[in-house]
Amino acid sequence: MKPFEQHLQDLTRRAFLSRVATGLGSIALGSLLNPGLLRAAAAPAGSNERWRGIIDPLHHPAKIKRVIYLYQAGGPSHLETFDYKPKLAAMHGQGMPESFTKGQQIAQLQGKELKCHAPQFPFERYGKSGQQICSLFPQIGSVADDICIVRSMFTEQINHDPAHTFMNTGSVIPGRPSMGSWLTYGLGAETEDLPGFVVLTSAGRGGQMQPIASRQWHSGYLPSRFQGVKFQSNGDPVLYLKNPPGVTRRDEGEIVDAVNQLNRVQHDAVHDPEILARISQYEMAFRMQAGVPGLMDIAQEPAAVLEQYGAQPGDGSFASNCLLARRLAEKGVRFIQLYHRDWDHHDDVSHVKFKAEEVDRPTAALIRDLKERGLFDETLIIWGGEFGRTPMAQGKGRDHHIKGFSLMLAGGGIKGGVTYGSTDELGYEAVENRVSVHDLHATMLHLFGIDHTRLTYRYQGRNFRLTDVAGEVVQGILA
């Protein structure tokens, strides 16, 4: 990437020259402060030119074009998913050795007796690679050779709200852009009719349904065009997408057409390029009104595909969202983030079995489906939550835990059939090949052909990055 300012100056100059050459008029102030707006402004009237990103050219060849982030919200227990800990089983009911816990931050177990709590389900080896995965997840097991398990994640925030914010933005201070916003700012999207960053949510049963704030997909100090757009499974798939009652698509089209004609008249009089941008936004909105409902209607999928995912049209389930994620991926959406809530198992961690029922099959189906369609190698799939859970019991459940937890990755540029890093023998602290949240972000950007230290935005007098002042690419998981 050229320095931001240089880029801005080039854009300014280019737009300025084209404007002067064609006699089109002024350059809006807002446009000059934000190249995104400028780029939109620089587009010829009514053109579909989309934002192509600040990174041009890429820092190195890209491995992937998009991310599908299967965000398991609430803090999935690594001990009942991907991290096999026989020693913890052996110590079930015994006191957790103080050498592990002394001086460490804990959440709801503050001041309580700390006892080991055995993994609640057996683990099995899957695939040729023989990866060890909890037996609740046989379908994920069936694609074991395609996935990379990271057992050595750690994070800094022990409560849901700030931990989500840290996982998504690399900071706990609100107002910072989320990773999807960074990516669409950096690279744009490959779609003209859809936002580049789409969020879907689903809920299940069995755990505490922790809230998810829209901060998690907010663009922070980046322009709001880079904000994630939440698609809803009930009502309008995008807010305000539907025509008002008594208004047909044709009626709406006539109004949009009149608005654009009038705006063009106005532009010819005052030469404000923001008006041209406004015209193309109305065109895109009108296309979204036509395109999105069909895209969101998975009933159009063959029965066999629905069956493969376990999706039922209109049920708003994680399975349906996985299928939607594939449809969005096909359309060129850059960052697709699915929040599946309700992994907060304080009371009874055996309820992970309900989660397994909800996510095992669709996760594997998505991987297989992407492979069959040739999208797997250009997509990064991330599966994981904001933190893990304690090896110590909280009744029959487990408390929040930040010193070690697991993630699963698959897709372009990722080694399949590999388990990377490890926690200690009780699954407490990541000890080998530790991976921080910043490292995860750096690796994700790396796969897109971006050097994470060079994707920056000037704010409050300094160049901010998704990875703050840290982050190392995790070479060990790269193919």
Binding site: A28, N159, E254, L262, M288
Partner: protein
Amino acid sequence: MRWRAALACLLVALAGLGGGTATGGAAERLGFNREVRPILSENCFRCHGPDQNQRKAKLRLDQRDVALAVGAFEPGQPEASELVRRIFSDDPEEQMPPPEANHRLTGPQKEILKRWIAEGAEYEPHWAFVAPQRPSVPAVASAPANPIDAFILEALDHAGLAPSPEADRRTLIRRLSLDLTGLPPAADDVEAFARSRDPRAYEQLVRKYLASPHYGERLAIPWLDLVRYADTVGFHNDVPIRVWPYRDYVIDAFNRNLPFDQFTREQLAGDLLPGATSRQRVASGYNRLHRISAEGGIQDKEYLAKYAADRVRTTATTWLGATMACAECHDHKFDPFTNRDFYRFAAIFSDLKEKGAYNLSGGFTPENLSEETLFASPAQEEQMKAFDTGIAARRRELEAVTDDQLAASRSEWEKSTLALADAGQLAWTAQHPLAATSPEGTPLAIEEDDSVVPGGRNPESDTYIVTVPAPLERITAARVEVMQDARYPGDEVSRGGSAFFISEIEVLGSSGRGAPFRPLRVTVARASSRHEAGYPPAAVIDGNPATALSFVRKVGGGIALQLAEPFAGGPEARLTVKIHGAKQHRFQNLGRFRIALHALPEPDAYPESVPDAVLKALRVPAAERKPAEGKEVAEYYRTVAPALASMRERLAAAVKQRDSVALTIPTVPVSRSVEPRPIRVLARANWMDESGEIAEPGVPQFLRQLQPAAGGRASRLDLANWLVAPDNPLTARTFVNRLWKNFFGAGLTRTLEDLGSQGEWPSHPALLDWLAVEFREQGWDIKHMVELIVTSRTYRQSSQPVPALLEADPLNRLLARQVPLRLEAEIVRDNALAISGLLVDRVGGESAKPYQPAGFYSTLNFPKREYVPDDGEGLYRRGLYTHWQRTFLHPSLAAFDAPAREECTANRAVSNTPLQALVLLNDPTYVEAARAFAERVLREGGWTFRGKLTWAFRHALARPPTTAETGILQELFNRQRARYRAEEPAARELAAVGAAPVTSKAGAADLAAWTAVTRAVLNLHETITRN
């Protein structure tokens, strides 16, 4: 290359801009602040700057003496200077900045540094850290009346540019009205102004708008962004918190033109002012506006640290334009703020009474939030004091009766109570309903456990009428027991939303066998569950349908209704309980409940009436009781003794009277000063690290220090006085720079949040300083500054550029013209509502809930929430009153770049997105506004299409339509009218959007076709832009 350097080059190339700057030097000599510091700051200070932990080779380039001592350069001798050798070196080992840093010096930048050393390597203190002096107003040829114009013209002269002509009058009045009030001008005012020949007409308009109550609303918007004012707590469950009186304080302060120095004192330290008024204490709520959390598992110290840091960030940005946030973990990389400074600043606020983890201390209670009653007037405060005096007198009356005087009756009571206890009649007994009905026709199922479960459709407001047997001999009280049921949403106690509201409960009795039911007087209502502030149990027996009861913890509980006289029950006797929902809380009807009866006077609501401890003491023979046990019995007896009944009733009546008045007075979190907590310097912001030194309250060490009164600990008031002291270099500049942005779309320094080393070099440094000094010396008079700006010729210029101007100054940094500005989110809404005639322009009060898509809060929890829009006025209030849900800001506001207000925001982004198009096209607010606007057009716009359209344009855009515009809309109208004539039901569907009734007498198709036209008008770029 920094863009301002680019601009500088551009301008130098054009004409050699240099005059009018604070450094003031001739073009040939480099200015350290203007040309050199930006290069050093951007490329060198990270390793050779203020941060001592990052400093390499003991070299700091931000201080000349240190740089000289280390031998970084030889003034006047670039060839002998290490710095020059290093920056021009190709050797990766030597080169500066080193290759691994993401910084490269350009050729011209290297030359500038070299030239600077050749010229003597003189330093200047960073401009914004030196108190501004009033520069002389430049003498320019055209001798403008307004000093602002003199500064602007001088720079334009240097650049060889001329200002733009004044905007036409229609543009001007619309610009002024939107900028000063956030509302479009009245159409009549536009015509009058357009026709007026009065040379003072513009100044008269300025005065009119400055005096408008909507001026304060307009100015409040950016201030509320800064102080991150919102209606919810922000973290995790993001539940509501009532701070709107603070918002009204801000509006009022701008409207009465409270001087900014006093505005500052009242917000930071209103509670510490001598004889602080209610209003000043509300202002001190500023310190309590940050996000707060009650998430399970959080720790007090951790969150106290988060709140403290947030306060430093916000206060430093708002008043100092300083990025002190950067010093939370380490010394600032670019500015001389140390890590220690950050915590000293935080320590100034450590006297605030507050909680870290609200979940550990009972939640967001009035006590934890330091809520204070907000009196509307001194008279109201006096009235409340009189009530309190009366209550104290009633209490003394009660206390005058000694326990000894009651001994005889107490011993009788002890015997009968023990007998009742032995008979199992001391507790509430649930009664199985004989009948349960609702006037709304709601099916009320009666379950085996005696509970009543409302089902079927949930009406807006319901009444449950339940008749139960009354078998007890002597019935002293009835109880409605609220029960959770998983069939209901949220916390499962209400049929809609998360809370239930009960406006009244009536109790009627009949002795049976056809005897009529007569109303039984209820004297006291008690609840076992804590009630929402403003929704106390007394509301259900006050006969006022406008008041209601609601619980805070939505887990059920009892509401006990004590009868004035015991009711004689019996095998045939019956009681009927009527539970009325609250009409103003639509759909929030009570869920499952049951009715129980009691035989003892003054029973607690839940679960037992005679506390265990009392009963236990009672079972000990009187003579053998320990003193504590005796006291237990005697004290409890006083609450039930018949001899004291009338006194108790008088006390209860006095309390009830006070409460019923108190109900109408909101409470609000304020600052309360207590023993300060120790604040430690936290290395890397780690709150678990207790090894850091204790930070004494103070301001950044490189600025003048606080001088606490009486030599004691520095207080928030000391800080406020320091901020507005004449020698403070930052406060006035920060404020006027932001104010400038309101009227020109950008500050004189565009980095509104950073006047530090990395901030932008001002386009007109002398003007910025002149404005800052003027502001301070004119008594921090905000209206004076606004008036100065908007009466300037600079402000009144046309925003339409000419090509030559674009070529010379594409960024419009020299302000040779005005700029078109997209309206702010709230004002996009206000404008549409005002044009449509739907706007309710009442100033202040509780936040409003306009239409919002269903399910928007679906991922909120604890409790789950369903947004219930207001009805009536609440749907049509100005955007700044919209309920500000931090984690899910109203989507129409968010689409137009309103910030979530989780964090201090000095500068809103301005974007242009398809989601904005969808909002204006399809949000029912805008569809309804278009329909109401169409009705006005049809009613008032005359007879012809052209006449109507002209009327519409004059109201929406302050101008008539052009022929081309008329043609486009005539065609739209014709097509739409034909289409709706063919399908009138569709026309009626469109007209039915929104709660405002259709009043137009026009035909449905005409109204629909005009609605299509007005929708187009409300969607125009020009409508949401001020030119």
